[in-house]
């Protein structure tokens, strides 16, 4: 605190000690006394300056460097004590000798306490004044000298300090208790504490908690033994910033001893950036290592001569099935593993192309277990600063799976192509622009002549479809059906008297890709012809059964008519003739009845119309007709008809169903057994059961029995269309048919028809939607 004042004095009057006379200030309002005293002192060699007032004295002392002051306590303006106080405050080293005319103990003590050099009493003894003044000036001189030394010291400290302050490293000085005594600017900016905040505080505030205990132990050890692990060394630690953030730092620690004790100085450098750079480098190295060691590819590096293997990643062991060590030992051993068929080519390429940077080879390696892997190997040269190649780096990749997948894909493509080309059906695939994007060879054959090819042409130019089918197809092209579409639209068209059948199918390209529409087309000209003929044959066959039944019923009475007529021709007795004629009339009437029944059964009902049909009645009529046939024998007929609502259908079709099923049942019983016909209401349906006690249907036939042309009858005895017709008719009316058969016990067919007008539409829709698809469970309740 005193330094500032001392410095001011030093700069104000250095000459005070340089041979120039010492200036003395006399403060007294007694002018006579001032003059006398001045004379006395000037005589002694002092330069004297006298003032009469306190304020003047204080003013004077501010400007002039006095060796001593003689002060009267009784002044006109100010209290002497106050002046004394002001003067000693201005310069504590300035000796002030108090002169007083009224010496009291109190005044003396107060003056001395306030810093007066001495107290003298008026009238003064000149010798005492002189001696006191001499002493005072000497003390002052000593004080000035001491000030000089101190000032020199202070300058050196100042230089050091400015050095410290301008240092970029934080410099912190602490005493042996670990309390901070010095704190430079860099420290301030590094730790974000100002000097005021840290001076006198423990160093531990600058370190994270985990260091504090070790720090304390270190301090104790140093003060106890003088040994330190860190003094004179550079260590890396972490610092704690004011905001609590840690940062890495480098610390150089020095210590020195003074009389005041041991001090420690630390030079602290923020190494965040350096750490970050180091970390980045290490991360980059780690990344490379992780990459090289974890990728499935083999990363390798050799010298340009291929004589030294500098690095090979561990994937080599997995792909080649050989240890990487073996490769370091003999750098060309990777070639030994290469399939003999590829080795020469690869070696040649490795030696010539790798340096050029266009080495890109696929080859096979044979692993020790004999398995073969496909490798894709690429390499490029690495140049040093002068531009010469000093390394070759490469990547070898196992592409066996890819090769296999490619081969499988190629196979599948070939297979698909072959299948499509050899299909007995024509295939067209059409995009949403109605353009053909694919046509197999049969399609080209059917519709593609004359060229150009079908691909790219509009499907409507190729296929002469009817209006409604054009509409269906173009609707499908615009929004192709889903893969799960149950009902695939189909249709027919004719080109040059040949009939073609087609069905649309969805084509999905890729996963979640666009949809296209495919058409599979078959030439059904012959098939259609044959089918027409067979259906005709089936009609004739069931007609034949009826006709033969009718023949029996008619031939018997005709036999009677003929016989009676012949007898009449030879008879003369009118009574007998009359009797015979009556017989003839009865026989003719019987014949007429049979014909009427037959015609009414066989005649198509009001053409095309659907009527309410009573199923029980139709069953009875059908059995009546079949009873006429040759196979009926002694079959017992049991009817279990319950009241059931009528079914809306074409009567002729229902008759066809019953005729087929009942005649099958009768035939199965070979002339004897029990035929049970039952109808009953089951919920919204009418169920019809036709049971026989015949031989039953073998299991293997159950699933096929509704297929067209499937028959177990001898050639010429059945067309195989009967049951398929039955199936078609039943499903057309939304009904279901199931069969339960046990070999040796008999067979029961159960048909269910929906009843009532309000169900009709719905069932028609279902019948259309299922499009003749058969549900196995319903077909063959086996």
């Amino acid at each position: 605190m005193g330094k500032r004042g001392q410095r001011k004095v030093a700069t104000a009057g250095p000459s005070a000690l340089g041979g120039t006379p010492t200036q003395v200030l006399i403060v007294d309002d007694d002018l006579d006394l001032c003059e006398a005293l001045g004379d006395l002192l000037e005589h002694e060699g002092y330069r004297v300056h006298a003032v009469g007032q306190g304020a003047e004295a204080i003013q004077q002392a501010k400007h002039v460097m006095y060796g001593a002051v003689l002060l009267d306590l009784r002044l006109p303006d100010l209290d002497g004590q106050a002046v004394l106080k002001a003067l000693t405050e201005l310069d504590p080293t300035l000796p002030v000798i108090v002169l007083t005319g009224f010496p009291t103990t109190e005044n003396t003590v107060r003056s001395l306490v306030k810093g007066a050099f001495a107290c003298l009493t008026k009238p003064y003894n000149p010798d005492v004044v002189k001696a006191t003044l001499r002493r005072a000036v000497a003390v002052k001189r000593l004080a000035v000298k001491a000030e000089r030394v101190e000032s020199a010291l202070s300058e050196s400290e100042e230089r050091f300090r400015s050095l410290v302050e301008s240092a970029t490293d934080a410099i912190v000085v602490a005493d042996d208790k670990g309390h901070i005594v010095s704190w430079n600017n860099a420290a301030q900016s590094l730790f974000a504490y100002s000097a005021d905040e840290v001076i006198g505080k423990p160093l531990t505030m600058l370190m994270p908690l985990r260091y504090r205990e070790a720090h304390q132990r270190g301090l104790e050890r140093v003060s106890a033994t003088g040994e330190s692990r860190v003094i004179g060394k550079t260590v890396e630690l972490h610092g704690l910033r004011r905001d609590g953030a840690e940062f890495p730092l480098e610390l150089s620690l020095a210590t020195w001893k003074t009389k005041g004790g041991t001090f420690y100085s630390g030079i602290i450098r923020d190494i965040t950036e350096r750490k970050r750079a180091e970390e980045a480098l290490r991360e980059s190295q780690d990344r490379f290592r992780q990459l090289a060691e974890n990728i499935r590819e083999v990363f390798w590096m050799t010298d340009p001569q291929k004589d030294r293997m500098l690095y090979v990643s561990p994937a080599y062991e997995e792909i080649w099935g050989r240890a990487t060590d073996s490769l370091y030992e003999s750098p060309r051993s990777w070639l030994d593993a290469i399939h003999t068929g590829d080795r020469a080519r690869v070696l040649d390429a490795a030696l010539t192309k790798q340096v050029a940077g266009d080495y890109d080879e696929e080859y096979r390696v044979v692993r020790p277990d004999g398995t073969i892997r496909w490798i894709h190997d690429r390499a490029f040269p690495i140049h040093d600063e002068s531009g010469t190649i000093y390394r070759i780096a490469g990547i070898a990749e196992d592409i066996t799976e890819r090769k296999q997948a490619q081969a499988a894909l190629r196979d599948a493509y070939q297979k698909t192509k072959t299948i499509l080309a050899s299909l007995p059906g024509a295939i067209l695939i059409v995009n949403d622009q109605q353009e053909v994007v694919y046509a197999n060879s049969l399609a080209e054959h059917y519709f593609g002549s004359p060229p150009p090819s079908l691909v790219g042409r509009s499907v409507f130019d190729i296929l002469p479809l009817s209006e409604s089918r054009r509409f269906t197809l173009s609707a499908n092209l615009r929004s192709p059906m889903s893969d799960r579409a149950k009902h695939l639209p189909e249709g027919e068209f004719e080109i040059q008297k040949r009939v073609y059948w087609y069905r649309l199918f969805p084509v999905t390209l890729g996963t979640g890709g666009r949809r296209q529409t495919g058409l599979v087309i078959q030439d059904i000209t012959e098939q259609k012809l044959l089918q027409d003929q067979l259906i005709q044959a089936e009609k004739l066959a069931s007609l034949g059964t009826l006709v033969s039944g009718m023949a029996h019923e008619i031939n018997n009475p005709v036999q009677g008519i003929l016989g009676m007529a012949e007898l009449i021709l030879q008879e003369h007795d009118p009574v007998i003739i009359r009797e015979y004629a009556q017989d003839i009339v009865r026989c003719a009437q019987h014949t007429a009845t049979v014909v009427r029944d037959f015609v009414s059964y066989a005649r198509p009902a009001s053409s095309g119309g659907e009527d309410d049909v009573c199923l029980s009645e139709r069953l009875a009529e059908a059995v009546k007709m079949i009873r006429l046939g040759p196979d009926f024998g002694h079959v017992e007929v049991v009817t279990e008809f319950q009241a059931a609502p009528p079914v809306c259908a074409r009567r002729g079709e229902i008759d066809q169903v019953f005729l087929n099923l009942i005649s099958n049942a009768v035939q199965a019983m070979r002339g004897s057994g029990r035929l049970t016909l039952a109808t009953r209401r089951l919920g919204d349906t009418v169920a019809v059961q036709i049971s026989d006690t015949g031989g039953g249907i073998p299991k293997v036939h159950l699933t096929r029995m509704f297929d067209p042309f499937f028959t177990t009858k001898a050639p010429g005895r059945g067309t195989g269309l009967g049951l398929s017709l039955v199936y078609k008719i039943v499903t057309k009316y939304g009904g279901t048919i199931s069969v339960d058969s046990e070999e040796g016990k008999g067979t029961t067919f159960t048909i269910r028809f929906p009843t009532g007008e309000h169900h009709k539409e719905e069932f028609h829709e279902i019948a259309q939607a299922t499009g003749g698809e058969r549900e196995n469970g319903t077909r063959s309740a086996g």
């Binding site: 029996h552 036999q559 009677g560 003929l562 016989g563 012949e566």
Partner: protein, 145 residues
């Protein structure tokens, strides 16, 4: 001529078993046969026919069987099978309403003499009956001799 020669045997033309379930078929045939000099025995179905032939004093006395096919109880095919196995010498003429070739072939194989489909004229029937009765009479004579 044959007729004449055979007429001498036992003083009659021969005996015919007529099997048919319908009276209006049997009646004119019966009347015509009787008129032509044959003795006629009737049965309305296969069962009755078998009973009749077995109950006769001498089964060989039936010279021809005219048999319908479709009849209740035992039908024609069964009855014919019985006749052919038990009385193989007795000729069987089938008279049926069914023009069924398969059945005809099958029955011919079983040894029926003829397969006639109704309606047949008397003339046609008489020729068949005469021939089969004559054959049986000759056979019977040889057997008796």
């Amino acid at each position: 001529m044959k007729l004449h020669r055979q007429q001498g045997v036992n003083g009659r033309m021969g005996r015919v078993l007529l099997v048919d379930d319908e009276e209006h078929v049997r009646k004119p045939i019966r009347l015509s046969l009787v008129k032509a000099g044959y003795e006629v025995v009737e049965a309305t179905d296969g069962e009755e026919a078998i009973r009749t032939i077995r109950a006769a004093d001498n089964p060989l006395m039936v010279d021809t069987i005219i048999c319908d096919i479709r009849m209740p109880n035992i039908d024609g095919t069964e009855a014919i099978a019985y006749f052919r196995s038990q009385f193989p010498t007795v000729p069987v003429v089938v008279l049926t309403g069914y023009p069924d070739v398969d059945l005809a072939v099958s029955l011919m194989k079983h040894g029926v003499t003829d397969y006639l489909v109704k309606p047949v004229s008397w003339e046609e029937l008489l020729i068949v009956v005469q021939r089969s009765v004559d054959n049986h009479v000759i056979l019977k004579d040889q057997f008796v001799a």
